[in-house]
Amino acid sequence: MTTPSRAAARQILETADDSLLDLVDNLLNRGVVISGEVLLGLAGVDLVYLRLTALLCAADRVRPRGEP
């Protein structure tokens, strides 16, 4: 069972556009969980989410639709 590495998380988030960041949030933090045992294999997800939150909070990422 493979877990996402720090490098993989960094690669995803540092090259991400806004839609990919939402995709990360939706796929890794939401969705049906039918077996808690399975998620133990994705321990690196917390790291991804923390980084995601940090990026979303960065002021330079605030680009509301319809505004320059």
């Binding site: 993989a8 690669q11 990919l20 939401r30 969705g31 969980v33 039918i34």
Partner: protein, 226 residues
């Protein structure tokens, strides 16, 4: 080989399921009135931008052919079909309810931005109701929970959206500039109208700003299904 779960569907898609994110043939597993979309994989797929996009694309393609889709969290791997069936049986009632809730719907994601949260209105002058410390404790807990799931900054938008929104999930961050993430469940095909309403409402939301993405599959309305 293990069974990788993509989603639960409300029925069988009309066309072939196609391939999954590891290029494996997808198949359906019916159990207790539920239909699971799965693939057989030799290892947990890696989390990459490519695999995330691929999984979303698989689900979007099949979502167009069924009334309801409950996406599974990325990385849901089970030993075999029997383990999947066992997990589904244990949560059948909640899963069927969740499928009904998202039928014919898609998700819009609103992020609320600002320099800081709008101060909460002062509490009632009266102390938390109840004769004892236990009741006061529980009342305070309830108030804290309600505050964590309330976005008063968005109230003007909520009023404009009206019946367009069928359900809502709120996550307050209070880490300026990101104040909150709000997920709205809307009828399929109404995303463009939803965006128009948001655009028309931006001035009324100041000093807060909002950004919107979507439509998405109803990810945020699947997580509490089980």
């Amino acid at each position: 080989m293990s069974v990788y779960l993509y989603a639960l569907l409300s029925g069988h898609p009309a066309s072939a399921c196609g391939q999954g994110i590891c290029a494996e043939p997808l198949r359906l597993v019916a159990s207790g009135g539920l239909v699971a979309l799965v693939g057989d994989v030799s290892a947990m797929p890696e989390v990459t931008a490519l695999t995330l996009r691929a999984q979303d694309a698989v689900l979007r393609r099949l979502a167009a052919e069924v009334d309801a889709v409950l996406p599974a969290r990325f990385g849901t791997l089970l030993a075999d079909d029997a383990a999947l069936a066992d997990a589904l049986v244990q949560r059948r009632v909640q899963l069927v309810q969740a499928l009904g809730r998202v039928a014919g719907c898609e998700q819009m994601t609103v992020r609320v931005w600002g320099d800081g949260p709008i101060p909460s209105p002062p509490r009632d002058a009266e102390p938390a109701a109840g004769p004892g410390p236990g009741t006061r404790y529980l009342t305070d807990r309830r108030r804290a929970h309600e505050a964590a799931h309330r976005v008063p900054e968005l109230e003007p938008l909520r009023q404009r959206l009206g019946d367009l929104v069928r359900a809502e999930r709120v996550e307050r961050h209070d880490r300026p500039p990101l104040l909150a993430t709000v997920q709205h469940l809307v009828a399929r095909g109404t995303g463009a109208h939803y965006l128009d309403v948001v655009d028309a409402c931006r001035t009324g939301l100041r000093p807060c700003r909002v950004s919107v993405t979507g439509p998405w599959l109803p990810y945020a309305f699947s997580e509490d299904a089980a």
